[in-house]
Symmetry: D2
Subunit: 381 residues, 4 copies
Amino acid sequence: MKDLRVGLIGCGFMGRTHSNAHRRLNNFFKLGHRSVLKAICDTNAAKASAFAETWGYERVETDWRKLMEAGDIDLVDICVPNFAHKEIAIAAAKAGKMVICEKPLALNVAEAREMVDAVEAAGVPNLVMFNYRRVPAITLARQLIDKGRIGRPFHFRAVFLQDWTISADVPQGGDALWRLDVKAAGSGVTGDLLAHNIDCALYLNGPITRVVARTETFVKERVHQLTGKVEPVGIDDACIFIAEFANGSLGVFESTRYARGHKALKTFEINGADGSLAFNLEEMEYLDYFQYAGSDSDTRGWRRIHVTNSEHPYMDKYWVPGLVIGYEHSFLNTLADFVAGIESGSPAQPNFRTALQTQKVCEAVLQSAKTGQWTETGVEL
Amino acid sequence: MKDLRVGLIGCGFMGRTHSNAHRRLNNFFKLGHRSVLKAICDTNAAKASAFAETWGYERVETDWRKLMEAGDIDLVDICVPNFAHKEIAIAAAKAGKMVICEKPLALNVAEAREMVDAVEAAGVPNLVMFNYRRVPAITLARQLIDKGRIGRPFHFRAVFLQDWTISADVPQGGDALWRLDVKAAGSGVTGDLLAHNIDCALYLNGPITRVVARTETFVKERVHQLTGKVEPVGIDDACIFIAEFANGSLGVFESTRYARGHKALKTFEINGADGSLAFNLEEMEYLDYFQYAGSDSDTRGWRRIHVTNSEHPYMDKYWVPGLVIGYEHSFLNTLADFVAGIESGSPAQPNFRTALQTQKVCEAVLQSAKTGQWTETGVEL
Amino acid sequence: MKDLRVGLIGCGFMGRTHSNAHRRLNNFFKLGHRSVLKAICDTNAAKASAFAETWGYERVETDWRKLMEAGDIDLVDICVPNFAHKEIAIAAAKAGKMVICEKPLALNVAEAREMVDAVEAAGVPNLVMFNYRRVPAITLARQLIDKGRIGRPFHFRAVFLQDWTISADVPQGGDALWRLDVKAAGSGVTGDLLAHNIDCALYLNGPITRVVARTETFVKERVHQLTGKVEPVGIDDACIFIAEFANGSLGVFESTRYARGHKALKTFEINGADGSLAFNLEEMEYLDYFQYAGSDSDTRGWRRIHVTNSEHPYMDKYWVPGLVIGYEHSFLNTLADFVAGIESGSPAQPNFRTALQTQKVCEAVLQSAKTGQWTETGVEL
Amino acid sequence: MKDLRVGLIGCGFMGRTHSNAHRRLNNFFKLGHRSVLKAICDTNAAKASAFAETWGYERVETDWRKLMEAGDIDLVDICVPNFAHKEIAIAAAKAGKMVICEKPLALNVAEAREMVDAVEAAGVPNLVMFNYRRVPAITLARQLIDKGRIGRPFHFRAVFLQDWTISADVPQGGDALWRLDVKAAGSGVTGDLLAHNIDCALYLNGPITRVVARTETFVKERVHQLTGKVEPVGIDDACIFIAEFANGSLGVFESTRYARGHKALKTFEINGADGSLAFNLEEMEYLDYFQYAGSDSDTRGWRRIHVTNSEHPYMDKYWVPGLVIGYEHSFLNTLADFVAGIESGSPAQPNFRTALQTQKVCEAVLQSAKTGQWTETGVEL
C-alpha cells in the first residue's frame, strides 16, 4: 500500500467535496494507494486552519507555491475559483505533481490549451473533476448505450436549472459568490452548469460540432462584495443553445439560475431508435429507461431503475440494494477511478485533453450568443 | 341493428354516468344493438324532466313500477340508492327485463341472494356496474396475470382514500348525501368504496376466504337532511381489513373518507414471484409493472405503461396513442361488453352471482369489525 | 333553445373529435343553443356514410360546396387536412356561416391573412381549434398567471414529443398519413405539434418576437401512398427553436416524432420570480405549481394539483372531485366556450386573428431553420 | 475537545454503517467530542483485522468481554445479531460504558426490560440505532406535526417491502443471513423491518395500544448455513397488522420480503384534519406534504418538498441546496445527536426505555398473529 500524499488548494465548497472524497477513499475502495491529507492551502490562514482541523490535514499553507516545492506532495488538488486554475495547474505539472482540477478546466480555450500542453509535456496524471460522470445512474446510462440499447441516436436534451440568484439583492464576487463575478468565473451558467451538461453529452453522445446560443443577464447590476460598489454584472444568468452532434443527432441545452422551484435540476434525456434514457440529479438514485427493441408492445413503458443494486456501477462498494448514496459519492467514485487509473496505466477520464473539448463547446456557445450566428466548436472528432 | 330500449331509474351521479354510457355506446363500439333512451324515472318529477332534457330520454316516469309494465323497455338500469336495489331488480327480472344494477348489489347478503335467485329464475341478462374492471389499465393487469407474468402471488394491497367528510358540518342523508345514511346505504366506506376494491381483488387474485377488520366512525353525530335533526351516524367512516386469499396470498385493504389530500385514491398492487403490478385511479392512464422473470438485472425497474396504445384494452375504440380517456369511459366499456355478451351468449362479468361474492366479503368485514374476530367469508371457491 | 346546425367536413381523426364534442355539448353544458348534426361531408362517400351512421349526422355530402349553399347549416366545421382550410373557410365566411377550423389555421401566413380578412369582412363567428387551451389544467395555469402568482416571468419551455415515424417503412401521404406529406400539411412537426405549443405560449406568456430554429428530417425518403413511389420527404421531422418573448423572458421549444418512448408528451413550464407552473399532456389531470411568494421556506415544494375539483375550470360540468376527464373533453370545453361566446357577444379565443399570430411564429421558425439566422416573427404586440 | 473512545462489536453490514458514522462525525458536526476508533471486535479474527484496516481501528479483539475491561473505551457500539444484544449491553452498562445498540433492542420484551434496567441502574448514556428518525425528511415531518400542521390525526399507514428472499434457494443462518434464522434474529420482518416502522410511528403519532396481526412464512424450509441441513423456517416472511393509536387514529402496517420490485420501500403516510405527510425511503430526499388548513382550494395539491435546503434538519451540515445525501447520513445524524445529548445533558432518543415500547408492540404483533386475537401492547401512555 503506497501513500498518495495530497496537497489541496481552496477551502470552499469544492474543497470540502474533494476532501471528503480523499478521507473516505480507502473505507470503500480496495486500491494500492492510501490517500494521505498532507497539506491544505488557502490564502485565508484562519479558514485554512479550521479546515485542516475539520478534515484532518497535517499542515496548513497560505501560498500554493509552497506545495509545488514540497517533497511530500504527490498530488495537487485544485479547488480554487476558475481564474486561478491555469497558473496552479501548470506549476504543478512542471513540479511533476499529479493534478486534479475542479471544472471548468479554465477561463477559456486558450488557457485550457496551455494547461493540456503542460500536463502532457510533464507526463503527469491529470483529471478534471466532472464528477457527474460517476453518478451510478449516469455511468449505467453509458454502459447501456455502449451495449447498443438505444440504437441510432436522434435527440439529446439537457437542462441545469437553479433559482438562487433571482433576488437582485444577492451580491456578486468574494468568498462564496465568486461564481457571479465574471473575472473570477469567466462566465455564468455556461461554465458553471452547462459545462457539466456538455461533459455528460460528450460522454454519452459524442462530439458537438456546431451551436447556436442565446444568453441573458436578467439582473444587470449587483453590489460587488470586494469593492462594496454596485457594478455591472458580467456573467450570463441564463443560457440556451441548440447543438449538432457529430453523430447526426440534435441537442438542446438550457441552464439558468432563474428557474423558480429548481435547486439543482440537472437532467438529460437521450432518444434513440431502439430506446431512450433519462436522468434527473434531484433524484439521482434513478435512471429512467424506455426499452423499445426487444420489448412487447403491450407492456412498454418508461422504467424507473433504482440504481442501487450491486450489479450497478460502484454500488457494490456501498450498502445493500435499495439504499441510496448521495451527491458526494460521485466525487469519491471519480477519485477512486483516478487512482485505479494511475495503478493500471489506463487513465481515468475526463483528463485535461478531454475537458478541453468541453471548454471549446462552452466558448463556441458564448461566442454564438454574442454574434447570433451558428458557430463551429472545433472539437476533435 | 336492433334497439336496446332503456328505462333508467335514478337521476343522481350514477344516473348521469350510466346515461352518458348509453348515449355514447354506438359512437365508439360496433355492436348489433343501438342503445335507445326510452324512459327516465325519478320520484322527483322536476328533476326527472330536466334530466330527460339534458340526456335525451323520450319520456319521464316517477314510479319505477311503470317501467316494469311497459312494453317498450328491454333493459332496466338501476341507479338509485342501495336500499332500493332489491325490490326494483326483482321486479324487473320478474317482468323479463334485462337488469343493470349499480354497485353494491344490495344492502346485505340476504338481499343479494334473493336478487341472484330472481334473475337466474327469470333467465334475464344481468350485470352489476363494477365499472373499474374496465378501466383499460385494470383490464390489462388481468391480461398480464392471465399470461402468467406475475407468477405465484404473495401479496395484494389496495386502498380507496377520500377526504370529503372530514368536516363535522357535512350532513347525512337526503339527495346527494344518502351515502352517509346507513339506512339508505347499508354501510359506509365498506359498501361504497371497498366493494370496488374487493371486486377488483376477486377479478385479479381470486376468492377471499377469511378476514379480520376494524372500522371507525370518526364523527359520531351529524344533522340528518331528511329530519333536520342531529342523529347518530350509523356508517363506517373508515375500514381496514386483512384478508386471506384462496390462492395463499395475503391481502390488506383500507378505505376512508378522512385521508386529507386524497379525493379518489383507489389503488391496488399485486406482488408475485415473477412480477408485480400497481394501479392508481387518480392517474388511471398508467399501469405500473415490474417484470422480474425474463428481465436483465441491471435494467429492472417499475415501468409506467401509458395505457393508451391501440393494443391496450378498449383503446382502439377511442383516439390515438398517448391521448387519455377518463373515468366515464369505464362505464361505457362495461356497457359495451354487456351488450356484446348478450349478442354472443357469453355474459359479461360481474353478473349478480359474481357480485354476490363481493357482498359476502363486505358482510364478513363488517361482521369482523363488530366481533373483533377473524371471520369466514363463505365465498364460492 | 335555438338549434346550431352543423355541417362538418372531414371524416378523419379530427372529424371524430369534433363530432364527439357536438354530440355531447348539451349533456354537459347549459347553453342557449343545441348542437344539431345536419350534414357530414367527405370526398369518400362510403366513409362519410359510415361516419354519419356512427355519429348520427342527418345527411351526407361529398362536395363541401353544397354546405355553403345549404340553408340549414349555421356552422361549418373544418376538419380536413391543412391544405384545404383556406378555400373552405373563405367560402364559408362568404356564405355567412360561422366557421370552426382545425389548427393550424393555414399552410402559411399569406393564406392565414386571407382567411382572417374573409371572416372579419363577413362578420361571422370564427374559431381555430387549439383545443389544449381548454384542458382544465392549462386554463387553471392561465388563471393563476392572471392572479399574479408567478410574478415576473423569466423562462418558458415546452416540448411536444412523439415517436411514431421512426421506422423508415412508414409511408407518407394519403388518408391517415397526410401529416407526413408536405403538400397536404405545409410542414411537419412545426405546424402539427409546435403550433399547439406556440398557441399555449401566447396564451400564457404573450407574444414571441424573435426566434432562431433548427429543423431536421431524419428519414429523407418515404413511399408516397398516393403515387406508390419513393419520394423525398418534405416535412420537418424535428424542430427546435429558441425564442424571445415580448415580456423579456426566454423560450425554448422542441418537437419531434423521433423521441422513443413518448407518444404525446406535450409539456410546458413557466418560471417566474414568484412561482412556476408545469404541465404534461400525458397526465393531463395534473398541474404542477411551485409557490414561492407567500410560502414558508421549509415546506416549499412542487405541488401536484389534481385538477378535478369543482372549483377548477370546467370540472363542475363533469363528475365529482378526483375523477378524471380525458383528451376529448378539451374539444368539448372549447366548443362550449365558442357557443357561449356567440351568445354573450364576447367571442371565444383563439379566433382566426389570434391564430394568425401562431402562424407567424411557425413561419418565422421555418424561415430561421432555412437561413440559420435569428428571425423576427412580426406578431402584433 | 474530548476523545470519545469507541469499541465496536460486529463487522457486518451494521458494523460498517456505524463505523462510517464515527469516521465522519467531526468532518460535518461541530461537537465537543472527537470520535476515536479504538477497538473493533469480532469472533472472526481475520474479518476483524481486515475491517480494522479498512476503517482505521487501532486494535482488534475477538472477545467482546475485553472491551468491558478496557480502560480506553468510553462507548460500546453493539452491531452484532439480535440474540447477543442483551448480554453485551448489560455487561457494558455494568462496566460503566455508554452503549449504542443496533435495533431491535432485543429478542423480546423480557430481555429488553433487563437491558433498560441495566443502563438505568448504571446511569450510562444509551441509544438504540433507529436511524430513520434522523433522515431529514422524517425529522422534518415531526417538526411539521409539532407545529400543528396536520391537526387531528385520523390515519397512519406504513409499509416496509423487500423482495430478496423469494427464492427458496436462499439459505438461512450464518454470516450474512442470520436475519432468516429465528434463533439469531428472534423474528423475521417484524423485528427487522416493522420495528423501524413502529419506531417512526411512535415518533410521529404516539403510542400504539392494541393490534391485530397476521404473519406468513411463504417458504417453509430452507438450508441452514451453519448445519448444512434443510431446516424449518422459524421467522415471519411477511407481517400485516392493524393498530389503534392512543390518540384515536387508526394504523395499518405491512412488511414482507416477498414484494417483487421493492428493495427497501419503507414508507409512511399520516393523514390529519388539517394536512397530510408521506415519505418513501427509496427516494428519501423528498417529503410529500398536503396542506389543507390555510391553503387555497384551487391550488391545493401534494407538494414534493426536496429536503435539501439549509433550513431543513441536518442539511446545513452538508452541501448546498438541491444536492442529496444518502442512507448512511441517517446514522451520522443520529450519532451526532447522541454526542450532543451527552454534552447537553438532554439525551437523544430513542434510548433503551423508548425502544422498549417498540419492542412491546412487536411482541404484541407476534402474539396476535399466533392467537388471531386483538392484543394489548401495554406501552406506556
